[in-house]
């Protein structure tokens, strides 16, 4: 769903010369409380990264649509090319008197903290991490929950009893994905071997492909990747195998948004499912809260299965058989009901596995 709306998102940034924000800047001294406005700063990915930056912008646009706001008039974004760009971007938006400013991605934590402290009048929101300042709303996702469910799907799908996980960076965040995934796999069948490898880059498709090639040839038949563009290499390898042998059992599980499109190969599709992270929903919700004066500053909003903050894509109906879907739904319910506590770190995972 998220992928298809890429075209719309772009319309805004194609050549529109009437720069309304120019004037905005000139009279930055004035108070602009009458109209609510919100903007966001992307991390290095950029607003059209087919991932959570894009998703966040879609959320903001949806919010704008509801409230009659358009890019440059009420909503806007600033793109970062570099870690050092977060601060000037955030400050620029502060100076343009936006009421609410989102920082998309954990990399913005420190910058957002600083800016928030310097501008106590402005509302801020941080996606994917937790900051300290009172005027920051922290939006996090229970990626481990979604990962758990795709782990269940992977465990159901594997024939070799070997599945793989490709991580972008061996970081706290990606560990959440790994832990949830491994827990999910083990919950279905503890004997399934999970092959874990980190590419140490979100942009190394070549390495992704080498890893995938190695995993698949070692008998792994389902790979869950949480590695951004590195995952392109994983898809490339899976599709290549599928092309040569359409009957082969190779699958990729996508991340962040429904990567169904990436898996298409002729009439087949190697994307088993994707762990979808609905940043758009979260952004829209926080914007609405802020507008209505109920800004959850200093709070941590965790979006999980229960509020569709994370979900499992079922686009590939051929692959996601009823059995699998049923099993996934089954576990989803258990998680929502609190029957299952999904681990989000290595230690919690060990604990969890011991209970099985």
């Amino acid at each position: 769903a998220c992928g298809s709306s890429g075209e719309e998102g772009s319309e805004g940034n194609a050549g529109d010369d009437s720069s309304g924000s120019d004037t905005n800047k000139e009279d930055s001294g004035e108070a602009a409380d009458s109209d609510f406005s919100a903007a966001m700063v992307t991390d290095i990915g950029g607003v059209d990264d087919k991932s959570f930056n894009q998703s966040a912008w879609e959320g903001l646009q949806a919010f704008g649509e509801e409230n009659g706001l358009a890019q440059g008039e009420g909503i806007d974004y600033a793109q970062s090319e570099n870690d050092a760009d977060y601060m000037p971007n955030l400050n620029r938006l502060v100076r343009e008197d936006y009421n609410l400013i989102f920082g998309i991605g954990f990399k913005l934590t420190e910058s957002l903290n600083t800016v928030a402290e310097q501008n106590p009048e402005t509302d801020f929101a941080l996606v994917d991490a937790v900051a300290e300042a009172e005027n920051i709303a922290n939006i996090t996702f229970k990626e481990h929950q979604g990962s758990f469910l795709v782990g269940v799907a992977a465990a159901m799908k594997t024939e070799s009893n070997k599945v793989g996980f490709v991580g972008g960076e061996n970081s706290e965040l990606i560990k959440k994905f790994e832990s949830g995934f491994r827990a999910g796999v083990a919950s279905v069948n503890p004997d399934i071997e999970v092959n874990v490898q980190y590419a140490e880059s979100f942009g190394a498709a070549d390495k992704g492909k080498v890893i995938a090639s190695n995993m698949y040839s070692g008998g792994v038949d389902v790979i869950y990747h949480a590695s951004g563009a590195t995952g392109n290499g994983v898809f490339a390898q899976a599709k290549d195998i599928k092309k040569n042998d359409p009957s082969s059992n190779v699958w990729v599980i996508g991340v962040d948004r429904d990567q169904h499109e990436e898996g298409a190969i002729g009439d087949n599709n190697v994307t088993l499912t994707s762990m979808v992270k609905r940043v758009d929903i979260a952004v829209q919700e926080v914007a609405a809260l802020s507008q209505s004066g109920e800004f959850p500053g200093g709070e941590v909003l965790e979006f999980g299965l229960e509020d569709d903050g994370v979900s499992v894509a079922k686009t590939n109906e051929d692959a996601m058989t009823d059995d699998i879907v049923k099993e996934v739904e089954n576990w989803k319910q258990k998680i929502i009901d609190g029957e299952v506590e999904v681990p989000s770190t290595e230690d919690e995972l060990d604990e969890y596995l011991n209970t099985l």
Binding site: A204, D206, S217
Partner: protein
């Protein structure tokens, strides 16, 4: 995993990993052999990847299965034309060749991403529907041991890369053109007094490097990345440059060096799954390819002499 299994999983991956580097490095060999330093290889690959993907996306319906081949052809042509900028600067305008190469790198990335946004309205293209696929070579793939090593699940582009390396060697060392090109890089004035047009040779050599860089970039895009974005080509051009020097400015040497990189990278990934090596902290495996390269250079490759006139603009009539 047995040793054979390990080798069996290393070699094919090493080959597809290396192919783009081989193409690009061969281009670098031509350029530098003619006396034009080319650190713009990265940019030429970016251009190649961009054109390859755009062509593929645009014409997949028209050309069907031939699309990837036509895509690299288009990438080759466009990158070659693009590289004329480097030639004009460093040959005709007597620019510092390193500076001009840096400009190429900036320009290619800027143009590629800018045009992607203009044409596709987003920072990255969709995935191509007609990439290269690997295949088994009939009969040969059934040969025991060698078959799985060298003829199963192979990309034609990998063979092409190796084949072209030999062609490049043949051209540089067996043909009048090659002799003239090398003479221009060693002693342009001698070449000039022998009636060879130094400028023309250098233009041609730079354009060959553009063409090969274009192929390298597009092969990378069409076998590995599948789309184009800011981060499609990140450092492969510099690795190719390293391969040129590692290979002592010799086409087969450059190929060997590129294969070495592929081999080392593949080895480092595969080691993570080998029981004996599993417990090695990941960092050692991550840096292994680069450490291996340094060790190889320090240990037994050693000193390499660049073409004598490499990097020096030729000014007619000066001494």
């Amino acid at each position: 995993m047995g040793i054979l299994d390990i080798i069996q999983s290393i070699i094919p991956t090493a080959l597809f990993f290396s192919a783009p580097l081989i193409f690009t490095a061969l281009g670098g060999v031509f350029s530098e052999r003619s006396g034009v330093v080319n650190i713009g290889l990265e940019g030429l690959m970016v251009m190649g990847a961009f054109v390859g993907i755009v062509f593929n996306l645009t014409f997949a319906d028209v050309f069907g299965a031939a699309t990837p081949w036509l895509s690299i052809l288009a990438a080759m042509v466009v990158s070659s034309i693009f590289s004329i900028i480097h030639a004009v600067a460093s040959v005709s305008f007597r620019a510092d060749q390193v500076v001009s190469g840096v400009a190429i790198n900036f320009l290619a990335l800027g143009l590629g991403v800018f045009l992607t946004k203009q044409w596709y309205g987003k920072g990255q293209t969709d995935m191509v529907s007609q990439p290269f696929y690997s295949l088994d070579i009939p009969f040969l793939s059934d040969v025991p041991i060698l078959g799985p090593l060298f003829f199963q699940d192979m990309y034609m582009t990998s063979y092409l890369a190796i084949f072209i390396a030999f062609i490049a060697w043949f051209i540089l060392y067996k043909t009048p053109f090659g002799l003239r090109l090398r003479s221009v890089g060693e002693h342009p004035m001698a070449a000039d007094t022998n009636g060879i047009n130094v400028y023309a040779m250098r233009y041609i050599a730079v354009m060959i490097s553009g063409a090969m860089g274009g192929i390298g970039g597009s092969v990378f895009a069409l076998t590995i990345a599948m789309n184009f974005s800011q981060s499609t080509i990140v450092g492969q051009g510099f690795m190719s440059l390293a391969a040129v020097i590692f290979g002592k400015w010799h086409p087969l040497g450059a190929m060997g060096a590129a294969l070495f990189f592929g081999f080392a990278q593949s080895l480092s990934v595969i080691s993570a799954g080998i029981p004996l090596l599993e417990d090695i902290p990941q960092i050692y495996l991550l840096i292994a390819p680069y450490v291996l390269t340094i060790l190889a250079l320090a240990g037994f490759i050693g000193r390499a002499e660049a073409p004598k006139a490499n990097g020096e603009p030729y000014i007619k009539g000066s001494r």
